[in-house]
Subunit: 255 residues, 2 copies
DNA sequence: TCAAAAGTGTTGCTAGTACACCCATGT
DNA sequence: ACATGGGTGTACTAGCAACACTTTTGA
Protein backbone atom coordinates (compact mmCIF):
# COMPACT_ATOMS: atom_id res chain seq x y z
CA UNK A 1 0.00 0.00 0.00
CA UNK A 2 1.45 3.35 -0.98
CA UNK A 3 1.23 6.54 1.03
CA UNK A 4 -1.02 7.97 -1.66
CA UNK A 5 -3.61 5.46 -0.75
CA UNK A 6 -4.37 7.03 2.55
CA UNK A 7 -3.88 10.58 1.42
CA UNK A 8 -6.57 10.26 -1.16
CA UNK A 9 -8.89 8.23 0.99
CA UNK A 10 -8.78 10.86 3.63
CA UNK A 11 -9.04 13.83 1.32
CA UNK A 12 -12.24 12.46 0.01
CA UNK A 13 -13.85 13.20 3.33
CA UNK A 14 -13.08 16.85 3.27
CA UNK A 15 -16.30 18.84 3.28
CA UNK A 16 -15.30 21.81 5.35
CA UNK A 17 -12.87 22.56 8.09
CA UNK A 18 -11.60 19.79 10.29
CA UNK A 19 -11.77 20.55 13.91
CA UNK A 20 -13.14 18.99 16.99
CA UNK A 21 -15.37 21.95 17.71
CA UNK A 22 -17.52 21.05 14.72
CA UNK A 23 -16.99 17.32 14.35
CA UNK A 24 -16.29 14.34 16.56
CA UNK A 25 -12.66 13.36 16.08
CA UNK A 26 -11.52 9.84 15.23
CA UNK A 27 -15.05 8.70 14.42
CA UNK A 28 -16.47 8.51 10.91
CA UNK A 29 -19.47 7.10 9.11
CA UNK A 30 -19.17 4.97 6.01
CA UNK A 31 -22.19 4.24 3.84
CA UNK A 32 -22.78 1.19 1.71
CA UNK A 33 -25.43 2.43 -0.70
CA UNK A 34 -27.17 -0.43 -2.47
CA UNK A 35 -28.98 -0.07 -5.77
CA UNK A 36 -30.43 -2.55 -8.22
CA UNK A 37 -30.25 -2.54 -12.00
CA UNK A 38 -29.89 -5.05 -14.85
CA UNK A 39 -30.45 -7.97 -12.49
CA UNK A 40 -27.43 -6.95 -10.46
CA UNK A 41 -27.04 -5.70 -6.91
CA UNK A 42 -24.89 -2.61 -7.08
CA UNK A 43 -22.92 -0.50 -4.63
CA UNK A 44 -22.10 3.15 -4.99
CA UNK A 45 -18.37 3.79 -4.73
CA UNK A 46 -16.29 6.85 -5.38
CA UNK A 47 -13.22 7.14 -7.54
CA UNK A 48 -10.79 9.43 -5.78
CA UNK A 49 -8.96 12.09 -7.67
CA UNK A 50 -5.45 11.48 -6.43
CA UNK A 51 -4.18 8.20 -7.69
CA UNK A 52 -4.86 5.82 -10.52
CA UNK A 53 -6.86 3.18 -8.83
CA UNK A 54 -8.25 4.59 -5.61
CA UNK A 55 -11.76 3.59 -4.65
CA UNK A 56 -13.63 4.28 -1.46
CA UNK A 57 -17.05 4.17 0.14
CA UNK A 58 -18.90 7.46 0.53
CA UNK A 59 -18.50 8.65 4.07
CA UNK A 60 -18.27 11.61 6.37
CA UNK A 61 -17.95 12.86 9.89
CA UNK A 62 -20.42 13.45 12.71
CA UNK A 63 -21.29 16.97 13.70
CA UNK A 64 -21.18 17.66 17.42
CA UNK A 65 -24.79 18.77 17.21
CA UNK A 66 -26.33 15.80 15.43
CA UNK A 67 -27.08 12.16 16.25
CA UNK A 68 -25.29 9.44 14.34
CA UNK A 69 -28.37 8.34 12.39
CA UNK A 70 -28.91 11.95 11.48
CA UNK A 71 -25.30 12.24 10.34
CA UNK A 72 -25.71 9.20 8.10
CA UNK A 73 -28.88 10.69 6.58
CA UNK A 74 -27.11 13.95 5.94
CA UNK A 75 -24.15 12.26 4.29
CA UNK A 76 -26.51 10.29 2.08
CA UNK A 77 -28.47 13.34 1.09
CA UNK A 78 -25.24 15.12 0.21
CA UNK A 79 -24.34 12.36 -2.24
CA UNK A 80 -27.68 11.25 -3.65
CA UNK A 81 -29.99 14.23 -3.20
CA UNK A 82 -32.55 11.92 -1.59
CA UNK A 83 -34.45 12.34 1.65
CA UNK A 84 -36.14 9.53 3.55
CA UNK A 85 -33.78 6.85 2.37
CA UNK A 86 -34.05 3.44 3.97
CA UNK A 87 -31.03 3.35 6.20
CA UNK A 88 -29.71 0.94 8.78
CA UNK A 89 -26.69 0.85 11.00
CA UNK A 90 -25.11 -2.58 10.88
CA UNK A 91 -21.79 -2.47 12.68
CA UNK A 92 -18.89 -0.38 13.94
CA UNK A 93 -15.41 -1.05 12.62
CA UNK A 94 -12.41 -0.29 14.72
CA UNK A 95 -10.00 -3.19 14.38
CA UNK A 96 -6.30 -2.85 15.07
CA UNK A 97 -5.72 -2.93 11.29
CA UNK A 98 -7.19 0.57 11.23
CA UNK A 99 -4.48 1.94 13.49
CA UNK A 100 -1.88 3.65 11.34
CA UNK A 101 1.73 3.06 12.31
CA UNK A 102 3.81 6.14 13.07
CA UNK A 103 6.22 5.66 10.14
CA UNK A 104 3.35 5.32 7.77
CA UNK A 105 1.63 8.34 9.23
CA UNK A 106 4.69 10.44 8.48
CA UNK A 107 4.44 9.40 4.85
CA UNK A 108 0.83 10.52 4.78
CA UNK A 109 1.69 13.83 6.37
CA UNK A 110 4.29 14.48 3.73
CA UNK A 111 1.86 13.52 1.01
CA UNK A 112 -0.77 15.88 2.30
CA UNK A 113 1.60 18.79 2.63
CA UNK A 114 2.86 18.28 -0.91
CA UNK A 115 -0.67 18.10 -2.21
CA UNK A 116 -1.98 21.38 -0.81
CA UNK A 117 0.03 23.07 1.87
CA UNK A 118 -2.47 25.92 2.23
CA UNK A 119 -5.40 23.73 2.95
CA UNK A 120 -3.62 21.28 5.17
CA UNK A 121 -2.16 23.09 8.11
CA UNK A 122 -0.65 21.08 10.95
CA UNK A 123 -3.86 20.98 12.89
CA UNK A 124 -5.86 19.61 9.97
CA UNK A 125 -3.19 17.04 9.26
CA UNK A 126 -3.17 15.87 12.84
CA UNK A 127 -6.93 15.56 12.76
CA UNK A 128 -7.02 13.68 9.49
CA UNK A 129 -4.19 11.26 10.11
CA UNK A 130 -5.34 10.13 13.49
CA UNK A 131 -6.71 6.67 14.00
CA UNK A 132 -10.41 6.34 13.08
CA UNK A 133 -13.24 4.11 14.19
CA UNK A 134 -16.09 4.04 11.68
CA UNK A 135 -19.75 3.21 12.00
CA UNK A 136 -21.14 1.36 8.99
CA UNK A 137 -24.59 2.10 7.59
CA UNK A 138 -26.22 0.55 4.61
CA UNK A 139 -28.84 2.28 2.49
CA UNK A 140 -31.32 0.99 -0.07
CA UNK A 141 -32.26 3.35 -2.88
CA UNK A 142 -34.14 3.38 -6.13
CA UNK A 143 -31.15 3.80 -8.35
CA UNK A 144 -33.11 5.76 -10.96
CA UNK A 145 -34.09 8.45 -8.50
CA UNK A 146 -30.56 9.19 -7.37
CA UNK A 147 -28.91 12.36 -8.59
CA UNK A 148 -25.27 11.83 -7.86
CA UNK A 149 -23.29 14.71 -6.44
CA UNK A 150 -19.55 14.49 -6.55
CA UNK A 151 -17.54 15.42 -3.48
CA UNK A 152 -14.72 17.93 -3.68
CA UNK A 153 -11.96 15.36 -3.95
CA UNK A 154 -13.77 12.77 -5.99
CA UNK A 155 -13.27 12.23 -9.67
CA UNK A 156 -16.64 10.50 -10.03
CA UNK A 157 -19.12 8.24 -8.32
CA UNK A 158 -19.99 4.92 -9.84
CA UNK A 159 -22.48 2.10 -9.38
CA UNK A 160 -20.56 -1.17 -9.38
CA UNK A 161 -21.92 -4.68 -9.23
CA UNK A 162 -21.17 -6.19 -5.85
CA UNK A 163 -19.46 -9.06 -7.62
CA UNK A 164 -17.06 -6.77 -9.38
CA UNK A 165 -15.89 -4.42 -6.68
CA UNK A 166 -12.34 -3.15 -7.03
CA UNK A 167 -9.91 -3.18 -4.13
CA UNK A 168 -10.86 -0.27 -1.93
CA UNK A 169 -8.98 1.77 0.61
CA UNK A 170 -8.67 0.64 4.21
CA UNK A 171 -11.08 -2.15 5.13
CA UNK A 172 -13.87 -0.93 2.86
CA UNK A 173 -14.15 -4.26 1.07
CA UNK A 174 -14.76 -5.91 4.43
CA UNK A 175 -17.36 -3.29 5.24
CA UNK A 176 -19.26 -4.00 2.03
CA UNK A 177 -19.15 -7.72 2.77
CA UNK A 178 -20.60 -7.11 6.24
CA UNK A 179 -23.30 -4.85 4.79
CA UNK A 180 -24.20 -7.48 2.21
CA UNK A 181 -24.52 -10.07 4.95
CA UNK A 182 -26.75 -7.78 6.99
CA UNK A 183 -28.89 -7.09 3.93
CA UNK A 184 -29.35 -10.81 3.30
CA UNK A 185 -30.43 -11.33 6.88
CA UNK A 186 -32.95 -8.49 6.79
CA UNK A 187 -34.34 -8.63 3.27
CA UNK A 188 -36.93 -11.27 4.01
CA UNK A 189 -37.68 -10.47 7.59
CA UNK A 190 -38.16 -6.74 7.27
CA UNK A 191 -39.51 -6.60 3.71
CA UNK A 192 -37.09 -3.88 2.79
CA UNK A 193 -36.29 -5.08 -0.71
CA UNK A 194 -38.95 -2.91 -2.30
CA UNK A 195 -36.84 0.12 -1.47
CA UNK A 196 -34.53 -1.01 -4.25
CA UNK A 197 -37.28 -1.13 -6.87
CA UNK A 198 -39.25 1.60 -8.61
CA UNK A 199 -42.83 2.34 -7.51
CA UNK A 200 -44.34 -0.28 -9.78
CA UNK A 201 -42.78 -3.58 -10.66
CA UNK A 202 -43.57 -7.07 -11.86
CA UNK A 203 -43.20 -10.20 -9.77
CA UNK A 204 -40.37 -11.32 -11.98
CA UNK A 205 -38.45 -8.20 -11.13
CA UNK A 206 -38.86 -8.91 -7.42
CA UNK A 207 -37.66 -12.44 -7.98
CA UNK A 208 -34.63 -11.29 -9.91
CA UNK A 209 -33.82 -8.80 -7.16
CA UNK A 210 -33.87 -11.59 -4.60
CA UNK A 211 -31.70 -13.71 -6.84
CA UNK A 212 -29.21 -10.87 -7.12
CA UNK A 213 -29.07 -10.38 -3.35
CA UNK A 214 -28.76 -14.06 -2.45
CA UNK A 215 -26.88 -15.11 -5.60
CA UNK A 216 -29.22 -18.05 -5.90
CA UNK A 217 -32.13 -19.00 -8.14
CA UNK A 218 -35.72 -19.11 -6.94
CA UNK A 219 -38.46 -21.00 -8.82
CA UNK A 220 -40.97 -18.45 -10.10
CA UNK A 221 -44.20 -20.14 -9.06
CA UNK A 222 -43.28 -20.75 -5.46
CA UNK A 223 -41.65 -17.37 -5.14
CA UNK A 224 -44.85 -15.70 -6.30
CA UNK A 225 -46.92 -17.65 -3.80
CA UNK A 226 -44.57 -16.72 -0.98
CA UNK A 227 -44.50 -13.00 -1.75
CA UNK A 228 -48.25 -12.74 -2.36
CA UNK A 229 -48.78 -14.68 0.87
CA UNK A 230 -47.06 -11.89 2.76
CA UNK A 231 -49.99 -9.69 1.79
CA UNK A 232 -47.92 -6.56 1.38
CA UNK A 233 -48.40 -5.99 -2.35
CA UNK A 234 -51.38 -4.62 -4.20
CA UNK A 235 -51.98 -5.68 -7.75
CA UNK A 236 -52.39 -2.96 -10.33
CA UNK A 237 -52.95 -3.32 -14.07
CA UNK A 238 -51.02 -5.42 -16.52
CA UNK A 239 -47.79 -4.53 -18.20
CA UNK A 240 -47.97 -4.90 -21.98
CA UNK A 241 -44.49 -5.05 -23.38
CA UNK A 242 -45.31 -6.18 -26.89
CA UNK A 243 -43.76 -9.56 -26.25
CA UNK A 244 -45.72 -12.51 -27.52
CA UNK A 245 -46.65 -13.84 -24.14
CA UNK A 246 -49.11 -13.21 -21.39
CA UNK A 247 -48.74 -9.72 -19.89
CA UNK A 248 -47.49 -9.80 -16.28
CA UNK A 249 -49.25 -7.89 -13.54
CA UNK A 250 -47.75 -4.78 -12.05
CA UNK A 251 -47.55 -4.55 -8.27
CA UNK A 252 -47.06 -1.80 -5.77
CA UNK A 253 -45.91 -2.01 -2.17
CA UNK A 254 -48.74 -1.31 0.28
CA UNK A 255 -48.01 1.62 2.56
CA UNK B 1 -32.61 14.34 35.98
CA UNK B 2 -30.28 16.03 38.42
CA UNK B 3 -26.75 17.16 37.73
CA UNK B 4 -25.50 14.44 40.02
CA UNK B 5 -26.74 11.88 37.59
CA UNK B 6 -24.20 12.71 34.98
CA UNK B 7 -21.42 13.46 37.38
CA UNK B 8 -21.60 10.02 38.84
CA UNK B 9 -22.18 8.25 35.60
CA UNK B 10 -19.09 9.78 34.19
CA UNK B 11 -16.92 9.28 37.25
CA UNK B 12 -17.58 5.63 37.05
CA UNK B 13 -15.53 5.46 33.91
CA UNK B 14 -12.44 6.85 35.47
CA UNK B 15 -9.65 4.31 35.33
CA UNK B 16 -6.67 6.52 34.81
CA UNK B 17 -5.91 9.82 33.23
CA UNK B 18 -8.24 11.23 30.63
CA UNK B 19 -6.51 12.50 27.61
CA UNK B 20 -6.68 12.02 23.92
CA UNK B 21 -3.10 10.80 23.73
CA UNK B 22 -4.07 7.61 25.51
CA UNK B 23 -7.76 7.22 24.68
CA UNK B 24 -10.10 8.07 21.83
CA UNK B 25 -12.21 11.04 22.90
CA UNK B 26 -16.00 11.09 22.72
CA UNK B 27 -16.22 7.34 22.11
CA UNK B 28 -16.92 4.78 24.80
CA UNK B 29 -17.79 1.11 25.11
CA UNK B 30 -20.67 -0.12 27.24
CA UNK B 31 -21.03 -3.77 28.11
CA UNK B 32 -24.23 -5.67 28.79
CA UNK B 33 -22.94 -8.69 30.67
CA UNK B 34 -25.53 -11.45 30.79
CA UNK B 35 -25.57 -14.19 33.39
CA UNK B 36 -28.08 -16.86 34.32
CA UNK B 37 -29.15 -18.02 37.76
CA UNK B 38 -32.31 -19.18 39.52
CA UNK B 39 -34.18 -19.41 36.23
CA UNK B 40 -33.59 -15.74 35.58
CA UNK B 41 -31.60 -13.91 32.94
CA UNK B 42 -29.44 -11.40 34.77
CA UNK B 43 -27.45 -8.34 33.84
CA UNK B 44 -24.43 -6.98 35.67
CA UNK B 45 -24.88 -3.37 36.65
CA UNK B 46 -22.88 -1.08 38.85
CA UNK B 47 -24.11 1.02 41.73
CA UNK B 48 -22.26 4.31 41.61
CA UNK B 49 -20.86 5.84 44.74
CA UNK B 50 -22.15 9.37 44.35
CA UNK B 51 -25.87 9.44 44.70
CA UNK B 52 -28.61 7.36 46.22
CA UNK B 53 -29.97 5.62 43.22
CA UNK B 54 -27.41 5.76 40.45
CA UNK B 55 -26.99 2.71 38.29
CA UNK B 56 -24.96 2.24 35.17
CA UNK B 57 -23.61 -0.37 32.76
CA UNK B 58 -19.96 -1.30 33.08
CA UNK B 59 -18.02 0.54 30.44
CA UNK B 60 -14.77 2.14 29.47
CA UNK B 61 -12.76 3.92 26.84
CA UNK B 62 -10.74 2.76 23.86
CA UNK B 63 -6.97 2.99 23.98
CA UNK B 64 -5.37 4.53 20.90
CA UNK B 65 -3.33 1.37 20.53
CA UNK B 66 -6.09 -1.25 20.65
CA UNK B 67 -8.97 -2.35 18.45
CA UNK B 68 -12.51 -1.91 19.68
CA UNK B 69 -13.13 -5.62 20.22
CA UNK B 70 -9.90 -5.75 22.16
CA UNK B 71 -11.03 -2.79 24.24
CA UNK B 72 -14.28 -4.54 25.08
CA UNK B 73 -12.40 -7.68 26.12
CA UNK B 74 -10.10 -5.65 28.31
CA UNK B 75 -12.97 -3.84 30.00
CA UNK B 76 -14.69 -7.17 30.64
CA UNK B 77 -11.58 -8.72 32.08
CA UNK B 78 -11.14 -5.74 34.37
CA UNK B 79 -14.59 -6.29 35.83
CA UNK B 80 -15.01 -10.06 35.81
CA UNK B 81 -11.47 -11.44 35.84
CA UNK B 82 -12.38 -13.69 32.90
CA UNK B 83 -10.56 -14.21 29.63
CA UNK B 84 -12.13 -15.62 26.48
CA UNK B 85 -15.59 -14.40 27.23
CA UNK B 86 -18.20 -14.75 24.52
CA UNK B 87 -18.58 -11.21 23.29
CA UNK B 88 -20.49 -9.58 20.49
CA UNK B 89 -20.86 -6.05 19.29
CA UNK B 90 -24.50 -5.32 18.62
CA UNK B 91 -24.92 -1.61 17.93
CA UNK B 92 -23.53 1.89 18.32
CA UNK B 93 -25.53 4.49 20.20
CA UNK B 94 -25.17 8.13 19.38
CA UNK B 95 -28.62 9.63 19.34
CA UNK B 96 -29.23 13.34 19.82
CA UNK B 97 -30.50 12.51 23.34
CA UNK B 98 -26.87 11.84 24.23
CA UNK B 99 -25.80 15.39 23.43
CA UNK B 100 -25.60 17.35 26.65
CA UNK B 101 -26.95 20.90 26.55
CA UNK B 102 -24.55 23.67 27.50
CA UNK B 103 -26.50 24.78 30.60
CA UNK B 104 -26.62 21.25 31.83
CA UNK B 105 -22.94 20.76 31.13
CA UNK B 106 -22.12 23.71 33.37
CA UNK B 107 -23.99 22.02 36.18
CA UNK B 108 -21.92 18.90 35.68
CA UNK B 109 -18.70 20.89 35.65
CA UNK B 110 -19.57 22.46 38.95
CA UNK B 111 -20.50 19.11 40.40
CA UNK B 112 -17.19 17.59 39.35
CA UNK B 113 -15.13 20.45 40.75
CA UNK B 114 -16.92 20.25 44.08
CA UNK B 115 -16.40 16.55 44.23
CA UNK B 116 -12.64 16.46 43.76
CA UNK B 117 -10.94 19.57 42.51
CA UNK B 118 -7.51 17.93 42.51
CA UNK B 119 -8.45 15.08 40.32
CA UNK B 120 -10.62 17.03 37.92
CA UNK B 121 -8.62 19.75 36.30
CA UNK B 122 -10.15 21.73 33.47
CA UNK B 123 -8.76 19.45 30.80
CA UNK B 124 -10.18 16.32 32.41
CA UNK B 125 -13.52 18.02 32.87
CA UNK B 126 -13.66 19.05 29.26
CA UNK B 127 -12.84 15.54 28.20
CA UNK B 128 -15.41 13.94 30.46
CA UNK B 129 -18.30 16.26 29.83
CA UNK B 130 -18.08 16.20 26.07
CA UNK B 131 -20.69 14.43 24.03
CA UNK B 132 -20.14 10.65 23.73
CA UNK B 133 -21.02 8.02 21.19
CA UNK B 134 -20.92 4.53 22.63
CA UNK B 135 -20.49 1.11 21.09
CA UNK B 136 -22.59 -1.58 22.76
CA UNK B 137 -21.26 -5.07 23.35
CA UNK B 138 -23.01 -7.92 25.04
CA UNK B 139 -21.21 -10.73 26.83
CA UNK B 140 -22.34 -14.14 28.03
CA UNK B 141 -20.68 -15.53 31.12
CA UNK B 142 -20.99 -18.40 33.53
CA UNK B 143 -22.09 -16.35 36.49
CA UNK B 144 -20.42 -18.68 38.96
CA UNK B 145 -16.98 -18.18 37.45
CA UNK B 146 -17.04 -14.41 37.64
CA UNK B 147 -14.97 -12.70 40.29
CA UNK B 148 -16.34 -9.21 40.42
CA UNK B 149 -13.90 -6.35 40.69
CA UNK B 150 -15.24 -2.99 41.73
CA UNK B 151 -14.14 0.09 39.85
CA UNK B 152 -12.76 3.11 41.67
CA UNK B 153 -16.01 5.04 41.72
CA UNK B 154 -18.39 2.17 42.16
CA UNK B 155 -20.01 1.24 45.43
CA UNK B 156 -20.69 -2.30 44.24
CA UNK B 157 -21.56 -4.44 41.23
CA UNK B 158 -24.75 -6.42 41.20
CA UNK B 159 -26.48 -9.08 39.13
CA UNK B 160 -30.04 -7.96 38.51
CA UNK B 161 -32.82 -9.83 36.77
CA UNK B 162 -33.50 -8.26 33.41
CA UNK B 163 -37.12 -7.87 34.43
CA UNK B 164 -36.20 -5.83 37.49
CA UNK B 165 -33.66 -3.36 36.19
CA UNK B 166 -33.65 0.02 37.89
CA UNK B 167 -33.62 3.23 35.94
CA UNK B 168 -30.08 3.72 34.74
CA UNK B 169 -28.09 6.74 33.67
CA UNK B 170 -28.24 8.05 30.12
CA UNK B 171 -29.84 5.62 27.68
CA UNK B 172 -28.50 2.51 29.40
CA UNK B 173 -31.95 0.97 29.75
CA UNK B 174 -32.37 1.25 25.98
CA UNK B 175 -28.97 -0.32 25.49
CA UNK B 176 -29.93 -3.32 27.62
CA UNK B 177 -33.17 -3.68 25.68
CA UNK B 178 -31.25 -3.68 22.40
CA UNK B 179 -28.77 -6.22 23.77
CA UNK B 180 -31.61 -8.46 24.91
CA UNK B 181 -33.15 -8.29 21.45
CA UNK B 182 -29.82 -9.18 19.83
CA UNK B 183 -29.39 -12.09 22.25
CA UNK B 184 -32.83 -13.43 21.37
CA UNK B 185 -32.02 -13.27 17.70
CA UNK B 186 -28.70 -15.07 18.09
CA UNK B 187 -29.38 -17.61 20.83
CA UNK B 188 -30.82 -20.24 18.52
CA UNK B 189 -28.89 -19.52 15.40
CA UNK B 190 -25.42 -19.35 16.87
CA UNK B 191 -25.86 -21.80 19.75
CA UNK B 192 -24.33 -19.38 22.19
CA UNK B 193 -26.64 -20.10 25.12
CA UNK B 194 -24.28 -22.67 26.59
CA UNK B 195 -21.90 -19.87 27.49
CA UNK B 196 -24.37 -18.95 30.21
CA UNK B 197 -24.39 -22.41 31.77
CA UNK B 198 -21.79 -24.31 33.76
CA UNK B 199 -19.77 -27.07 32.08
CA UNK B 200 -22.34 -29.74 32.80
CA UNK B 201 -26.07 -29.25 32.84
CA UNK B 202 -29.36 -31.06 32.48
CA UNK B 203 -31.75 -30.58 29.59
CA UNK B 204 -34.24 -28.98 31.93
CA UNK B 205 -31.70 -26.32 32.78
CA UNK B 206 -31.20 -25.54 29.10
CA UNK B 207 -34.94 -25.30 28.67
CA UNK B 208 -35.31 -22.97 31.63
CA UNK B 209 -32.52 -20.79 30.25
CA UNK B 210 -34.36 -20.48 26.96
CA UNK B 211 -37.54 -19.67 28.81
CA UNK B 212 -35.76 -16.93 30.74
CA UNK B 213 -34.33 -15.40 27.57
CA UNK B 214 -37.55 -15.51 25.56
CA UNK B 215 -39.92 -15.08 28.52
CA UNK B 216 -42.00 -17.90 27.11
CA UNK B 217 -42.62 -21.52 28.00
CA UNK B 218 -41.34 -24.42 25.93
CA UNK B 219 -42.78 -27.95 26.22
CA UNK B 220 -40.07 -30.20 27.57
CA UNK B 221 -40.41 -33.12 25.16
CA UNK B 222 -40.26 -31.11 21.95
CA UNK B 223 -37.52 -28.89 23.31
CA UNK B 224 -35.39 -31.91 24.10
CA UNK B 225 -35.89 -33.31 20.62
CA UNK B 226 -34.93 -30.01 19.05
CA UNK B 227 -31.77 -29.51 21.08
CA UNK B 228 -30.60 -33.11 20.71
CA UNK B 229 -31.33 -32.85 17.00
CA UNK B 230 -28.75 -30.09 16.75
CA UNK B 231 -26.15 -32.71 17.61
CA UNK B 232 -24.00 -30.35 19.63
CA UNK B 233 -24.34 -31.97 23.04
CA UNK B 234 -22.75 -35.09 24.40
CA UNK B 235 -24.53 -37.10 27.04
CA UNK B 236 -22.62 -37.84 30.22
CA UNK B 237 -23.82 -39.70 33.29
CA UNK B 238 -26.99 -39.21 35.25
CA UNK B 239 -27.56 -36.66 37.93
CA UNK B 240 -28.91 -38.15 41.16
CA UNK B 241 -30.40 -35.45 43.28
CA UNK B 242 -32.21 -37.59 45.84
CA UNK B 243 -35.58 -36.59 44.42
CA UNK B 244 -38.04 -39.38 44.06
CA UNK B 245 -38.08 -39.35 40.31
CA UNK B 246 -36.04 -40.55 37.41
CA UNK B 247 -32.56 -39.04 37.36
CA UNK B 248 -31.96 -36.70 34.42
CA UNK B 249 -28.93 -37.00 32.17
CA UNK B 250 -26.11 -34.53 32.35
CA UNK B 251 -24.92 -32.99 29.09
CA UNK B 252 -21.86 -31.14 27.92
CA UNK B 253 -21.39 -28.87 24.94
CA UNK B 254 -19.24 -30.50 22.23
CA UNK B 255 -16.16 -28.49 21.44
C1' DT C 1 -46.93 -49.62 45.34
C1' DC C 2 -47.14 -44.88 44.37
C1' DA C 3 -46.09 -40.03 43.18
C1' DA C 4 -43.06 -37.18 40.57
C1' DA C 5 -40.69 -36.11 36.73
C1' DA C 6 -37.52 -37.99 32.84
C1' DG C 7 -37.50 -39.63 28.45
C1' DT C 8 -39.54 -41.62 24.06
C1' DG C 9 -43.05 -42.46 20.55
C1' DT C 10 -47.12 -41.15 17.59
C1' DT C 11 -50.16 -38.18 15.27
C1' DG C 12 -51.53 -34.09 12.90
C1' DC C 13 -50.64 -29.54 11.09
C1' DT C 14 -48.21 -26.24 8.32
C1' DA C 15 -44.80 -24.28 5.33
C1' DG C 16 -41.98 -24.99 1.76
C1' DT C 17 -40.65 -27.64 -2.58
C1' DA C 18 -41.34 -29.97 -6.94
C1' DC C 19 -44.22 -30.93 -10.56
C1' DA C 20 -47.98 -30.40 -13.76
C1' DC C 21 -51.25 -27.76 -16.04
C1' DC C 22 -53.99 -23.86 -18.05
C1' DC C 23 -54.04 -18.85 -19.72
C1' DA C 24 -53.00 -14.61 -22.24
C1' DT C 25 -50.34 -12.41 -25.93
C1' DG C 26 -48.51 -11.24 -30.54
C1' DT C 27 -46.86 -13.33 -34.77
C1' DA D 1 -52.64 -22.19 -34.69
C1' DC D 2 -48.57 -21.77 -32.07
C1' DA D 3 -44.54 -20.43 -29.45
C1' DT D 4 -43.51 -17.89 -25.30
C1' DG D 5 -43.67 -16.95 -20.83
C1' DG D 6 -47.36 -15.65 -16.93
C1' DG D 7 -50.09 -17.50 -13.47
C1' DT D 8 -52.45 -21.12 -10.67
C1' DG D 9 -53.39 -25.61 -8.70
C1' DT D 10 -51.99 -30.22 -6.70
C1' DA D 11 -49.10 -33.67 -4.49
C1' DC D 12 -45.14 -34.54 -1.64
C1' DT D 13 -41.98 -33.75 2.23
C1' DA D 14 -39.74 -31.94 6.34
C1' DG D 15 -40.07 -29.60 10.50
C1' DC D 16 -42.74 -28.33 14.40
C1' DA D 17 -46.46 -28.74 18.01
C1' DA D 18 -49.75 -31.42 20.77
C1' DC D 19 -50.76 -35.56 22.90
C1' DA D 20 -50.10 -40.12 24.94
C1' DC D 21 -47.22 -43.43 26.85
C1' DT D 22 -43.32 -45.90 29.28
C1' DT D 23 -39.29 -45.64 32.54
C1' DT D 24 -36.73 -44.51 36.56
C1' DT D 25 -36.22 -42.97 41.29
C1' DG D 26 -36.94 -42.75 46.38
C1' DA D 27 -40.44 -42.74 49.87
Amino acid sequence: MSALYNVACINQRIMGKFNTEDYIAQLSIDCVIFGYKNKELKVLISKLSYGDNLWSLPGGYILQTEGIDQAASRILKERTGLDNIYLEQFRAFGGPDRIIGSEFRDLVRTGLRNFDSNRFDDEAIDWITSRFVCIGYYALVDLNKVELRIGEFEEFLKWVSIAELPNMTHDHNKIVAAAHKALRQNLDEKLIGFNLLPEEFTMREVKELYEAVYDKEFPMNNFQKKILGLNVLERLGKKFTGAQNRAPYLYRFKK
